[in-house]
């Protein structure tokens, strides 16, 4: 009798755990704010540029500076004077849920952009997994979308990209001004071999971005003569990596390569390396660990960590000096790794819209015209150099940077141009 009662209770528990498991990750408390960046001129037609970034939680420290770059471009364009009768406004939404970027939320934000007729183009998202959810929507709507930072190769290239263009297989609506993970993983592998590191243990977070990065590093590192001792994937929500690190340590690697973001475990993994007796082992990652959060989580252990960024170092580029100063004046902080990219992306869209307005005789342009102009971008001057898009929507200007953390700050180490 007691047993039967207990069993049915347990069945109920199991059902409830499932229920809570779902609600815990999908019921959200996002703070979405649509901030009109400029006071709309009375009577002028408002043209909105959608911006989708994770601006709360662990991703906020890279998401916010990226959004700021785009907002700044829109504000400047509006101040400089949009074509007569028009005004530019930023329409920005947060795709982080419970503090982590969320594809479903990103898709919802994109639908909000699409259903607003005033939105003629969008910037974002920050993360590749979110982009994957958004591209089919912008493809369907014919809305031009430029990401400043989504670096997964499959978003633009090969059968993966084709599978995302669901409604109009022959039209591409997704572009990016950053380079791709195959380049980032390749740059990481090149750099690791340059440092003389021979044996790598690879860990990734099993997400589109992290696994893509790690897979390319894996292949490149081998082809450059290195040995890969193991390649493991983390589980979402895990916080204790001692068992994994004990396993890695027993194999004696020279370097741990991490594919993923700080939020999905990059910081804790580095911190726990010390407890696992691996304080002296090198640690290399992609731009997912380039945020300030990484130093907060990893503490002292952050020092000595190398990471690549799929963008040029703005302070090393003469063309970016003006933007860096203007950014500091507007936001009272230094630029983030992708601020200049977002600024360039927004400017490309603004130029495309203005061109469409002029061509259409000062009427509100159609999204299709804007998209066509964006796709035709070539040699567009920007803080990160002249930008053009190839037929996949990828930048023709692939410059990457390697940084090393010292005293809690990323210090420039090397710049790698993979232009082939």
């Amino acid at each position: 009798m007691q047993t039967i009662a207990a069993t049915s209770r347990l069945a109920a528990l199991a059902a409830l755990v499932g229920l809570v498991g779902c609600s815990g990750t999908t019921t959200t408390t996002t703070s979405q704010s649509s901030s009109g960046s400029a006071s709309a001129v009375a009577g002028a037609t408002v043209i909105k540029i959608g911006i989708d970034m994770p601006v709360s939680g662990a991703d906020a420290s890279t998401g916010i500076p990226t959004r700021n770059g785009a907002v700044q471009a829109i504000e400047e364009a509006d101040r400089k004077g949009a074509p007569a009768g028009f005004t530019f406004v930023a329409y920005d939404l947060d795709d982080a849920v419970q503090g982590v970027h969320d594809p479903a939320q990103g898709a919802q934000n994109t639908r909000a952009f699409v259903s607003d007729d005033a939105v003629l183009a969008m910037i974002g998202p920050f993360n590749s997994s979110v982009a994957r959810a958004e591209i089919p929507i912008t493809n369907d709507a014919g809305l031009a979308q430029i990401s400043a930072s989504a670096t997964n190769p499959g978003l633009t290239k090969g059968p993966d990209a084709a599978s995302l263009r669901t409604s109009h297989p022959d039209v591409n609506s997704f572009f990016r001004v950053c380079t791709t993970d195959d380049r980032q993983g390749a740059a990481g592998a090149q750099f690791a071999r340059k440092l003389g590191l021979k044996k790598a243990f690879i860990v990734d977070d099993n997400e589109t971005y992290g696994k893509g990065l790690a897979d390319v590093f894996d292949a490149q590192f081998r082809s450059l003569g290195g040995t890969v001792l193991g390649h493991e994937h983390l589980t979402k929500g895990q916080t204790d990596y001692k068992a994994l690190l004990t396993k890695a340590n027993a194999l004696g690697p020279d370097v741990i390569f991490y594919g993923g973001t700080t939020a999905t475990g990059g910081g804790l993994l580095r911190k726990q390396m010390r407890d696992a007796g691996m304080a002296a082992t090198a640690y290399l990652g992609g731009d997912g660990i380039s945020d300030a959060e990484f130093e907060t989580v990893a503490g002292d252990a952050a020092n000595g960590v190398y990471y690549t960024v799929a963008a040029p170092e703005t302070s090393k580029l003469p063309s970016a000096a003006g933007f860096v100063a203007a950014y500091k004046k507007r936001w009272s902080t230094d630029v983030g790794p992708y601020s200049a990219n977002a600024y360039a992306a927004a400017n490309i869209e603004i130029a495309a819209i203005e061109k469409a307005i002029v061509a259409g005789g000062a009427k509100t342009p159609a999204r299709a015209d804007v998209l066509k102009n964006v796709a035709a971008t070539n040699g567009f001057p920007s803080p990160i150099g002249p930008i053009g898009f190839d037929k996949n929507g990828d930048t023709t200007n692939p410059i990457l940077t390697v940084y090393k953390i010292a005293n809690g700050k990323g210090v420039f180490v090397d710049q790698i141009n993979l232009k082939s």
Binding site: Q2, T3, A6, T7, R9, L10, A12, L13, L16, V17, V20, G21, S23, G24, T27, T29, S56, G57, A58, A60, S61, A96, Q98, G99, V203, N206, H231, E232, H233, L234, T235, G237, Q238, T239, D240, Y241, K242, A243, L244, T246, K247, A250, G267, L268, K271, Q272, D275, G277, E293, T296, V297, G299
Partner: protein, 305 residues
């Protein structure tokens, strides 16, 4: 073989934290048959309280000798008290009025409490991870190739001491007897003159205080926390409680240590094991429940507390 024993140590220290949280789940379930979904968040609140106390004491780095002992004891006890009181408050506000309502109603309020706590913590320290001062120096001792650190010993030791104290409390004190009586038959206990409200409040006090202890330990052990920490830990601890036999104190402890061990061993010996740990843990849970529906220790001790 060294690696095997190293993984045992890793698993036990991870399991110690699960076990401390699981004790609270199992106590509350034992007495009012409610899965207190806010419990994982009370645990996170424990790290937040500890951090606030350490900041208040002006501690930001490693301590040694007597001050270390003082700081650890003060922080631990204060965090336990604050979490305990939070637990009592939650019971008073969200569960007491629903005690005779259909089973689903208090479950929904439990989920609601969980969201409230998460959002309060998000307002308190923001949505990003925050770092926790490393108070305890962390020397490691090599025992024949196996590294055991001071923190690991502290986690495992604290979990065992807390469970032993809890067992003594439940079986040797009058209040413990009242708790056992209430768990067996609330109405009969009331007829015997037991103050049900106080007894249930004390259960929440103790269960939540243990979550507070787990919060302090995990803060020191991992050196970082964030508002959403309790979700995954709470789920694992709840699984531990079910695995060991929900309502059974020793079972919760056993379940916690077992899950920690399974995770560590699975990571080591399954190729690409890190991504399969949850699969292995929950497969073991399913198997155990098929053959022993009331959990590992669920039947041997019929008195639930």
């Amino acid at each position: 073989m060294d690696v095997f024993f190293q993984q045992i140590v890793n698993g036990l220290s991870l399991g110690g934290i699960y076990a401390l949280i699981a004790l609270g789940y199992t106590m509350v379930y034992g007495i009012i048959e409610l899965i207190n979904f806010a419990h994982g968040d009370v645990y996170t609140l424990g790290t937040f309280f500890s951090l606030a106390i350490l900041t208040g004491l002006g501690v930001s780095g490693e301590m040694h000798g007597l001050p270390l002992v003082g700081v650890v004891l003060v922080t631990l006890i204060a965090a336990m008290l604050l979490c305990g009181l939070t637990g009592v408050l939650i019971e008073r506000l969200a569960y007491r009025r629903l005690r005779n309502a259909p089973r689903l109603a208090p479950l929904i309020t439990a989920i609601g409490m969980s969201f409230i706590l998460e959002n309060v913590m998000q307002l308190w320290h923001g949505p990003s991870p925050i770092s926790f001062p490393e108070v305890i120096p962390n020397p490691a001792w090599a025992l024949g190739g196996v590294e055991v650190s001071a923190k690991q010993i502290a986690v495992i030791g604290l979990a065992i001491v807390m469970m032993a104290a809890l067992q003594l409390f439940i079986y040797k004190t009058k209040m413990g007897k009242a708790m056992r009586a209430t768990a067996q038959d609330r109405d009969a206990a009331q007829l015997m003159g037991i103050d049900i409200n106080t007894t249930i409040a004390v259960t929440f006090l103790i269960g939540s205080a243990l979550a507070g202890a787990a919060g302090f330990v995990s803060g020191v052990y991992y050196g970082t926390t964030w508002f959403f920490n309790g979700f995954e830990a709470g789920l694992k601890a709840f699984t531990a409680a079910v695995l060991g036999g929900i309502g059974n104190v020793a079972g919760a402890m056993l379940g916690g240590f077992l899950i920690g061990l399974i995770e560590a061993i699975a990571t080591q010996y399954i190729p690409g094991g890190a991504q399969w740990t949850n699969v292995v843990v929950f497969s073991v849970l399913v198997l155990v429940l098929i053959f022993r529906p009331s959990g590992l220790l669920g039947e041997s001790l019929p008195e639930k507390v």
